[in-house]
């Protein structure tokens, strides 16, 4: 007897992210204390961020500028009229018992950013024309707010049931932007890609360092599943506590599986907050008391509204750098680079600018990309340096690439002089001239060397002519040795083959 197995229900995940980015200002959002990470506890505090009676918060002008620039870079509409609100809740990390945030009139709304779709290894997926496949993720809103302090739970005392907690308010009042995405992502990989692109944009703008370890970039994920084709959303679960992009991806992938398994066994998904546990690689429920999240927002009476003028807006808009997505498109479409190369080069703005300077100085794009992504990156990684720390200037790199292209030096010679260029800098042309490394392209000189080599290895010659053509490499090596590595490799190959074949 045969029974038809019912078609397995396919599910899709609906994912949205809430990201907090710390803005790179010197001082706090509403007061003059430092935002320095890692200061001794409670050294960066003042009456305003501590919410002492009679104090008046005043908005840091850089916070407004950075928030507007971030909004513009995320293709948002900047609010002509925006205000701050009080969000009330009781928790000891919040000295005022309310957080100054923005509720119904955020500074920026209705934007989007573009992510590249990649495979499991982070390689961009491409269409039939070899162009990167991209997807737009909507940005619901971006608003300004203050960070809270930090509770220190003495680890050893937790078991013995200590009677108190310790609080460090250095972080209270540190400026943040909260960026809320539309529920447009469908996999952990897309969400991780979104978070990375967001960080790239913030770093390009210079408005946030995006350091996840120090908490400058924090992502909360909202996720639900539904059968493919269904319109209704499933019950939404929030996941917190991921401090790397891979943790975001893994937490989401875990949560998708967990929710599917729950639905398949007829279990009800509870609307709740779950924590990603890095040690056990799973999400765990963090039950919160019902009804505790009634924030009773109301307009902050101590701060005036913000009305960004058209003039100010155009001024800030003009200061925006070319952003990563625009660079990727330009590298692919105008410079003919592969999506992979474009992606790697534009990941860091200083690397992209180095590359562009080399191209402007006359280097061909592809070899410039190869040198930067290959030998130069390897050196930087080894030495833990940034590309702007090395004496090799983009102009000198361009000069070296030109020397290779006009056959003044071989690729091998270039590799030989690179360590010197990386550590001491200088003109590659001057170096090859000084060291006498200019490539020999004169057939007569190469032929002379070949004749010498052939005369020196009669046995090998016989074997070669007897069919062991693999020995060609051996002869090339000997000719190179004879010419101090300076013989034009392509020409050597040609001449050698014709001589060996007799």
């Amino acid at each position: 007897m045969t029974t038809a197995t019912p078609a397995k229900t396919k599910y899709e995940a609906i994912i949205g992210l809430e990201t907090h980015c710390q803005l790179s200002t010197e001082t706090k959002i509403f007061s003059d204390s430092s935002t320095q990470f890692g200061s001794d506890p409670n050294t960066n505090i003042d009456p305003v961020c501590m919410g002492l009676p009679g104090t008046l918060p005043v908005l840091n002008e850089k916070v407004l500028e950075y928030a507007v620039k971030a909004g513009l870079a995320l293709n948002c509409t900047i609010a002509p009229y925006s205000k701050f609100d009080r969000k009330q809740y009781f928790y000891p990390d919040l000295p005022k018992n309310y957080q100054i945030s923005q509720y119904d009139l955020p500074i920026a709304e209705h934007g989007w950013l573009e992510i590249e779709l990649t495979d499991d290894k982070g390689k961009p997926l491409v269409d039939e024309n070899g162009k990167a496949l991209t997807k737009r993720i909507g940005i619901t809103r971006l608003h300004m707010e203050e960070d809270a302090g930090k509770l220190v739970h003495a680890g050893s005392e937790r078991l013995s049931g200590s009677t108190h907690s310790l609080v460090d308010y250095n972080r209270a009042g540190v400026p943040l932007v909260e960026i809320v995405s539309e529920p447009d992502m469908r996999s952990g990989q897309e969400a991780a890609e979104y978070a990375q692109e967001l960080r790239r944009i913030m770093r390009y703008l210079g408005v946030s360092d995006g350091n996840m370890q120090e908490g400058s970039l924090r992502c909360d994920v909202n996720i639900s599943i539904r059968p493919v084709g269904a319109e209704k959303f499933g019950t939404k679960v929030e996941i917190k506590n991921m401090n790397s992009f891979s943790a975001i991806q893994k937490a989401i992938d875990y949560e998708i599986e967990r929710q599917i398994a729950a639905v398949e066994t007829g279990e009800r998904i509870v609307q709740e907050t779950r924590l990603w546990d890095e040690a056990t690689q799973r999400t765990i429920s963090m039950r919160t008391k019902e009804g505790s999240s009634d924030y009773r927002y109301f307009p902050e009476p101590d701060l005036g509204p913000i009305e960004v003028t058209q003039e100010q807006l155009s001024h800030w808009k003009a200061e925006l750098p070319e952003l990563p997505a625009a660079k990727r498109h330009r590298y692919e479409n105008e410079l003919g680079l592969s999506p992979y190369d474009a992606r790697v080069l534009t990941d860091d703005r200083t690397v992209a600018e180095y590359f562009e300077k080399a191209v402007t100085a006359g280097a061909s794009a592809k070899p410039a990309a190869n040198w930067i992504m290959g030998d130069i990156s390897a050196y930087l990684n080894n030495e833990k340096l940034g590309i702007s720390d090395i004496p090799l200037t983009p102009e000198n790199l361009a000069e070296m690439i030109t020397l290779i292209e006009d056959k003044t030096i071989s690729n091998k010679i270039a590799k030989d002089i690179l360590p010197d260029l990386l550590t001491k800098g200088g003109s590659p042309k001057a170096i090859v001239e000084k060291k006498g490394l200019i490539q020999v392209s004169d057939p007569k000189v190469i032929e002379a060397a070949i004749d010498k080599v052939i005369a020196a290895y009669p046995d090998e010659l016989e074997k070669y002519r007897g069919g062991k053509t693999k020995l060609l490499g051996f002869f090339v090596g000997q000719v190179m040795k004879e010419t101090g590595g300076k013989a034009d490799p392509k020409l050597t190959n040609q001449l050698l083959q014709s001589k060996l074949n007799g």
């Binding site: 200002t25 010197e26 001082t27 007061s31 003059d32 204390s33 430092s34 001794d40 506890p41 409670n42 050294t43 960066n44 505090i45 003042d46 009456p47 501590m50 002492l52 005043v58 908005l59 840091n60 002008e61 850089k62 916070v63 407004l64 205000k83 009330q88 009781f90 928790y91 000891p92 509770l151 220190v152 739970h153 937790r158 049931g161 200590s162 009677t163 108190h164 907690s165 310790l166 609080v167 460090d168 308010y169 924590l275 765990i284 429920s285 963090m286 039950r287 919160t288 009804g291 009634d294 009773r296 307009p299 009476p301 701060l303 005036g304 509204p305 913000i306 009305e307």
Partner: protein, 102 residues
Amino acid sequence: MIDREQVRKVAHLARLDLTPDEEEKFTTQLSDILEYFEQLSELDTDEVQPTARAIDMSNVTRPDRLQPYENRETILNSAPDRESTAQGDFFKVPQILSGEGE
């Protein structure tokens, strides 16, 4: 205008512990206050923007210039309790259960 249940909820959100007598009293008082303000609804405000503040001033900002506050000790001392550890000076608060209900 406002019922006892709402008063209980607001009291809970404000972390206030009310006696039954107080609940009764505040329900009446708050209703009276709200009723008094209700007179405002006689006015037609359809064309009026909500007013968040009385002073008509916008874009008040300050430069991003570091000026560390020098009287840190006073702030630390004004808290009910503090504690100095090897890591530095902390405010001391009643225990918060970390990972509540975990």
